[in-house]
């Protein structure tokens, strides 16, 4: 009678298997969690950078138009600057001249530039508020441009529209507890813009 040879079998004991699966799961979970955190952080950084760019842009736009306008007015939380017609219909700069009474003039009529918050509902049903700059050259159609997206509020403080314009634009927080920002732990960012009306014609 032949006694079968003993066979050596290699493998993991059940305990070892359980241990390795557990360790692997932990590592994978850590990787996934890190990835999600990094992704959220990346998204927040991007959002923050966009908001910072929006804030700078809004401030620069209003400052530029404040300086060159000759009057500013506020109506219905819309800030409107009125300025001479500096360009003709083809975009060429118009030279200044003196009228028969010695008063300075550029082109005929005036151009208005207004700033306002435009709120609407997008295709997904979300309420969106953008900050819009509308240019209406004399005798021409208006052109509106969104210069900042997703703003919370636009407030104008007509401190003295004959000397300077003060307004503020509030942007929602970007680093929040929950991704949709519905329960933010960070405060909103408010950008203040206070610009001296340099054009002497504004002082009336």
């Amino acid at each position: 009678m032949k006694i079968p040879g003993s066979q050596t079998r290699f493998g993991f004991a059940l305990v070892e298997m359980l241990m390795s699966v557990a360790c692997g799961s932990l590592i994978l979970a850590a990787v996934v969690a890190s990835g999600v955190a990094l992704q959220r952080s990346s998204a927040a950084v991007e959002s923050y950078s966009v908001a910072e760019g929006d804030q700078l842009r809004v401030s620069d736009y209003i400052a530029m138009d404040s300086r060159r306008c000759y009057s500013a007015s506020v109506s219905g939380n819309t800030l409107t600057f009125t300025m001479p017609t500096f360009y003709d219909a083809t975009g060429n700069r118009i030279d200044p001249s003196l009228d028969s009474n010695g008063a300075l003039q550029y082109g005929a009529g005036t151009t208005t530039i207004s700033y306002s918050k435009n709120t609407y509902q997008d295709t997904n049903g979300n309420v969106v508020s953008n900050f819009v700059r509308t240019v209406t050259p004399a005798g021409q159609a208006s052109t509106s441009t969104v210069i900042a997206r997703n703003i919370l509020a636009f407030t104008i403080t007509p401190q003295s529209l004959s000397t300077n314009v003060t307004c503020s634009i509030t942007f929602p927080p970007k680093f929040t507890d929950v991704p949709d920002g519905s329960n933010p732990s960070a405060a909103a960012t408010t950008v203040y813009c206070n610009v001296f009306l340099r054009n002497p014609r504004a002082r009336q």
Binding site: Y70, D95, T163
Partner: protein, 487 residues
């Protein structure tokens, strides 16, 4: 790991873009500071007429890019010329050997000034206005790449590889901004404008363009007056106002057919300055003090206030009659003082009075002055007069010189008072319904609600100089015609 690397790379890219955008915004703002400097340098050159380092080019077209060539400028440009000044190569160059900074290190500028076709003959005093263009250029540090947000590129038009104005290649990215300022001359003549005050003007016009107005006429021009007298049908729009310190000034909605120039805080209720916006600032001007005359002994007659003879004759222009009145001079009700001419020349009858006290014409008291006579009254105390009590036809024939400070001058009644009041230390009140034709130089001026002031342009003469310039318009050109962006 791939996923995490991708996320990290994205974050770094975003941070890089953010930094790039921030640098570009900073450079764009620095460029404005450079442009402002260019304008300030030009204003300084115009005010001082010092044109050291300036060049003059014979061209009626301003250059689109940094100018070059030309001869050394010695005067302000005339039509068909422009002057220009360059800031230098790099005024903010870092210290040699120091570690290069991370931000921008270069802000340069250039300025041009020309007449821009602004017709000097249309200025109230025939003086030349100028257009100044200042361009500031700031370096843009970092890679020459556009912002990742198109809206930024619409606002901040940077030159990254090509100069936006010339289309030529550039070695370093740059931000460029141009502002255009129009400046008006400030004439120094005593009567270069209708009303000049050291402090405020207060007017109570009710927004009615027919009454309580400030406007002008020209008594020497039949097209601008009738028989040398103000005529509303021939109204002119050079009733200019100027204030050295506009604190508390209020035009009260009065129709002002002329230009307002001032220094200090904004003037209230200027909504009826015609045409709208006919306002400039600052008003750099010094009103000289007035002084009593210095007459040689025995060249004048002396009276006490109550002993002035009823008829006084004028002298010649070379040897005017001179009368000193010690104490107050009052023309009482029912009293008449007559000033007669010594010949029938319109330019050779002159008389001067020096009143050491108050000058008063009571209701019913009259000073009758020959139309040939030019009378000057030096008064050391309050002046009270009315158009009915001192009737002349042309403002050049009657001058009141108020000497000293903290006194008052009051005009009232019907018909309008015609003359000039040079009283820089006096608070002048125009209270008469008839108004005032001539010109006023005072400490303060009050115009009551039914009074009008009609500046006689014939007073300004032709010798008025210019000592400074005021901003009449400020405009930044941020257009980009290639992209159909104007405003």
């Amino acid at each position: 790991m791939t996923l995490m690397s991708f996320i990290c790379a994205t974050s770094l890219y975003i941070a890089s873009q953010n930094s790039n955008s921030g640098m570009q915004a900073a450079s764009w703002q620095q460029a404005l500071a450079g442009a402002d400097t260019a304008v300030d340098e030009t204003i300084a050159a115009l005010n001082s007429q010092g044109w050291t380092n300036w060049k003059q080019v014979g061209s009626s077209q301003l250059p689109a890019s940094q100018p070059s060539g030309g001869a050394a400028a010695t005067t302000a440009p005339v039509p068909g010329q422009y002057n220009y000044l360059l800031s230098g190569s790099n005024p903010l160059k870092p210290i040699p050997g120091a570690t290069p900074p991370e931000g921008n290190t270069s802000v340069t500028w250039w300025a041009t000034v020309d007449t821009a076709g602004l017709d000097a003959t249309k200025d109230a005093n025939g003086k030349q206005w100028y257009r100044i263009r200042g361009t500031g250029v700031a370096g843009v540090p970092g890679s020459p790449r556009v912002s990742n947000n198109r809206l930024d590129n619409d606002l901040r038009k940077l030159s990254l590889f090509l100069n936006r104005q010339t289309g030529s290649a550039i070695s370093n990215p740059q931000a460029s901004r141009t502002i255009e300022v129009v400046v008006q001359p400030t004439a120094t003549g005593t009567w270069a404008r209708g009303i000049t005050t050291r402090k405020w003007m207060s007017m109570a016009g009710d927004g009615n363009p027919l009454i309580a107005v400030v406007d002008s006429f020209d008594s020497s021009n039949p097209a601008k007056s009738t028989l040398g007298v103000y005529d509303i049908i021939k109204r002119q729009s050079h009733g200019d106002l100027a204030m050295i310190n506009s604190t508390s000034a209020d035009l009260g909605g009065t129709y002002v057919y002329g230009r307002l120039t001032y220094s200090g805080p904004p003037v209230a209720n200027t909504n009826h300055v015609q045409p709208p916006g006919n306002i400039a600032t600052p008003f750099n001007f010094t009103i000289p003090d007035t002084a009593d005359p210095t007459w040689a002994p025995a060249t004048y007659a002396t009276y006490t206030g109550g002993s002035v003879p009823p008829i006084i004759a004028a002298g010649t222009k070379a040897n005017p009659a001179r009368v000193k009145i010690n104490g107050d001079f009052t023309v009482a009700a029912g009293q008449t003082v007559t000033i007669i001419n010594q010949d029938f020349s319109m330019t050779n009858n002159y008389i001067e009075f020096w009143v050491t006290g108050k000058f008063t014409t009571a209701t019913g008291g009259v000073i009758v002055q020959s139309p040939y006579v030019h009378a000057t009254w030096y008064v050391d105390n309050d002046i009270t007069v009315s158009g009915a009590s001192y009737l002349v036809l042309r403002a050049e024939n009657l001058s009141f010189v108020g000497v000293g400070n903290n006194h008052a001058a009051t005009e009232s009644g019907i018909p309008p008072f015609v003359g000039t009041i040079n009283a820089p230390g006096f608070d002048v009140t125009i209270a008469g319904v008839g108004g005032f034709s001539g010109a006023v130089l005072a400490n303060t001026l009050t115009l009551n609600n039914l009074g009008s002031i009609h500046y006689d342009e014939a007073l300004k003469g032709s010798s008025s100089a210019v000592n400074s310039y005021a901003f009449a318009s400020w405009f930044e050109d941020n257009s980009d015609k290639a992209r159909s962006i104007a405003y």
